[in-house]
Symmetry: D2
């Protein structure tokens, strides 16, 4: 059994705690969170130790792995400490909002044969994953275009907006990774955005919606369509288009009911509205990959470099919005 | 150009008049209808002669073919007269509501090498036809079960009910033919029906809905689900189920719009609500088959015997409802 | 925590063991199975006691409830023993294949204020349940017709067929209960069946497919379409049709991928192929209802009488196939 | 009856000839085409006069209207001549590939109360039209984003590419108009394109695919996704996204058949593959609008200015691809 220390006992931390204990191959050894009641409650549920201090867990010699689900600003410090203590790491996205801190972290750990997996959960969503595998198996021939639709049901609170790093670093970061998952290396980014005249976004200097266009090394194009709100739920779709056809990943609904009446036919229910509900199987599969990579003594399928690359694309999108220019990228 | 006399200038007659003139291979020579203004108006639109007397057209030596779209009670007389005058005949369903009259008609014409096509338009509907062709090409392996859903948007007026011959002879007759189109010879019929406590149907001694179950010579089963009313439009579907899979014929909507909102997603519009709208392409294709059979000097793909066989099944369903027994049939 | 004894450590028993332990309100106290390794393995996984003898668990005074997932022939004896010992019971369907044994069991327990829930899992499937709730909320007006499509992916082995009690008692039993879930009391049953010329079914005197038609006290009609095999997976659908519209429960697929190529568009994957996969959430919800009824000190929503009524309908269907007659039923 | 002169007897001209004669309110008076057999054949079919010289028809005093379906390079001259002769004009898109010629044409006719309708047929497609009407009726609230997917089944021949004016002027021109149909005035355009390493497009200096992003005066965003080829047919979709939901216009298939087998379920056929087949109802409705505007003595719903504005957007897209910059536009 892999002994895992969980850093962060919030919403996402609770999901990870469940994945760990249900995996059958790992046990929850520690829960750390500065909010002591959060840490102790979650730890109590699974018979784990707890502490407000992540160092207590990281330094515990019986701990094999550290799962970092704490506030973004703490990620690089915790990665560094965990790797230097010899732990395997699974870290929630993003690594950080600041490239310099990411690079400094890497400089400190690069020589330590770091095992750092990044929590880009959507790569493990069964629907997106199936599309990716079928694309890679050649079903649609050479991929020419990728379209990612990613709309949140409701915008985050204004207070969160202020510290989020902005839409591209906070929300689109998932879609940048999805683009790389399908298209590999990105060489060019352009983006437009709109605040929809919404005073919350105007005040925050942030965007209510955005469209990002990218190109990879083969000339394949990608469109990301983002919105901070969506009346019909959490809209998470993509289309991979190739010479032989296309594969679409549709939304998920709670049931398979369809209604027919005098006004309409085949009406399905709203799409799953909450990211934990929508991506629950993805979180489980993500942790399974973490276990598999450790068991097979190989690199995880998505790592530190992927986390950095997604931020490279976010920075390019920010620059493109600011300058109105296509931005060439390296390392994206 | 085939010179066609159209008997009956009602709703269906007008559809046929258009099919004739748009076919490019036929011209409308006569329109006959006891309602003189109906006959003269329709004839005038296409430059045809008209008469209240069908005999005027049937006896016109320049007429090649007669299309019978008059009241059901007149069908056998008009078929007989037309065949004896040497005309090709396309007759709307049903041949008649009375088996004895059908058989008497056939006795009179059988020796005259009659060319009589029956207007079972649904055999020519592009969607049903594609399913039939793919089934016959072996796509689903041996067919084991057929399911026909056939619901009218609104019930006919009570006055029509009284002379309609009842649901099975009037409405289900199409579905009986569809069963034979897919399953060939039927050997057994059972039926249950309900008036839904609706006083109109109770008064008419007729049914608001019915379910018919049939078996063919290979042991394949068929279910027909009928309703006299349907809130979401004219529900016309079928499913052919075989060892290798199934093929479903779905409903048609006016456009390909889908709506997404806080209450529902992927909501299409109501299905096409009127039989002339739903089956317009079928009526055109039916007339094209009439022309093709004449041109190729062969029997039409659906003829007098098919019209009789559908009535055999209707009579069996009526008997089954009355007796509560499965009814063996011959000639169905 | 409710202490539960699980009788039967087979496929279904394992699903129930998981529902029990994941419920958060119950614990697995005992696992009993005549196959000792099965009992001990499953018990070991959850820290429960085990025995080849169900009596050991039933008589343990610390046991609150008994979940019967053993062979059908043992159900009535185990229900009787459990009720007489004062335990709450959740019993897998069917109660028994023989009406006399069912009635004898009831005669013995009726005076003991028995708490017996029947495991008609499909009532707890989220899709079917939503349709049922929306029907009962009046969304489609008075229900006029119910259509249940229920096809197994592959037929059971011949050896199972021989002891199964036949298709109606073994497979259709679920659909009979579904009919009652939507339509209440059934007053009339007719059925036709076919062995599809398949020597396995001919030899077993059983059916490869069947169609059952029923009527309830309001004149609403129901069709059940059954097949022992289905190329595209476990086909589990229904349609509730009423004066104001209809609600359809569709099949479930593993992912939301759709494929588009030169031959076809919008192609989804096969439907979930295995009943445990398809109905996993239903089993969990079923156990949750068991817990809720106990907690709220009320009768379970589906009980002994429902198990008996489903068998009444199965017997009527068997009689209808044998006699070719509509069979009136009481207690269905 | 409106007497119409048709200039151009090619593929599109033939479609218009049929719309004219089937309208019931117009007759085909002339067919002109430099290819004399084309002109005479088409004219012969409808009993019209013909000439290789468009002037013969335009100058015929009995002609009320001129429908210009000739080569693009002739459009402005024919518009000018027709307007100056006092004829109503329906002109196929685009007006011209050169803005100076368009403006010169307008300068010559502006004072003559010109009646010039532009043939942006997609505005009259029943599906797109329904979405537009529902958006304008407020169903989705303020529109925030429009997504247009427009993919041709196969690329045009290289010879056509050379004179087409390039993808944006030739193909995307329809989508630019669709953007304006939904979003009104466009103020900003950016575009990226790819030749997919296809030597035909490399040689022609043209694009195999492109993505155009635009913004309107309210900050609503639009994405156009174009491809010169599409394995599954003529992909013509759009999504209008607003605060209260979205409306999607889907593709059309020839029939409503869905296939289910061991590999897949709900597989529809390929989408309608040919623009004349896909947009046949749109061409009819377009001509009906031409007639209605004349009958009601009002401006047509889409006119010369719309044709010019679409080219403004095409020019901006070309500039954006060349410069890598967002291009502000006026008059778009």
């Amino acid at each position: 059994m892999l002994r895992v220390a969980l850093l962060g006992a919030g919403r996402i931390g609770q999901v990870h705690a469940r994945s760990i204990t249900e995996s059958g191959e790992a046990e929850l050894a520690w829960v750390c969170d500065p909010v002591e009641t959060a840490a102790s409650t979650l730890a109590g549920r699974y018979g784990a130790k707890w502490s407000p201090e992540p160092g207590d867990a990281i330094e515990d010699a019986s701990v094999d792995a550290v799962l970092i689900a704490s506030a973004t600003a703490t990620h690089t410090d915790l990665i560094r400490a965990s790797v230097l203590a010899g732990r395997k790491v699974l870290c929630e996205k993003p690594i950080d909002l600041d490239m310099a801190r990411i690079d400094a972290c890497w400089a400190d750990i690069a020589g330590k044969a770091p095992f750092v997996m990044l929590g880009f959960n959507r790569r493990f969503d069964p629907t997106f994953r199936e599309v990716n595998e079928r694309v890679k198996a050649g079903e649609i021939g050479p991929i020419r275009a990728l379209r990612v639709t990613s709309r949140d049901p409701q915008p985050p609170p204004g207070a969160y907006l202020a510290v989020s790093g902005g839409m591209f670093r906070d929300m689109t970061i998932h879609d940048f990774d999805m683009a790389r998952f399908f298209l590999g290396q990105i060489v060019e980014v352009s983006a437009v955005a709109s605040h929809n005249n919404d005073p919350v976004f105007v005040a925050a200097g942030d965007h209510a919606q955005a469209i990002v266009t990218m190109r990879n090394t083969d000339g394949a194009l990608c469109t990301i369509v983002n919105s901070r709100s969506c009346a019909y739920g959490y809209d998470q779709r993509l289309e991979a288009f190739g010479d032989l056809g296309s594969l679409e990943a549709g939304n998920l609904t709670a049931t398979a009911v369809r209604a027919f009446n005098a006004k309409e036919t085949e009406a399905a229910g709203p799409v799953l509205n909450f990211f934990l509900e929508r991506y629950l199987p993805a979180y489980k599969a993500e942790f399974a990959e973490f276990l598999a990579a450790i068991r097979e003594d190989r690199e995880p399928s998505v790592g530190f470099a992927d986390g950095r690359a997604a931020l490279v694309l976010a920075e390019a999108a920010i620059e493109s919005v600011a300058t109105g220019r296509v931005v060439p990228v390296t390392g994206g």
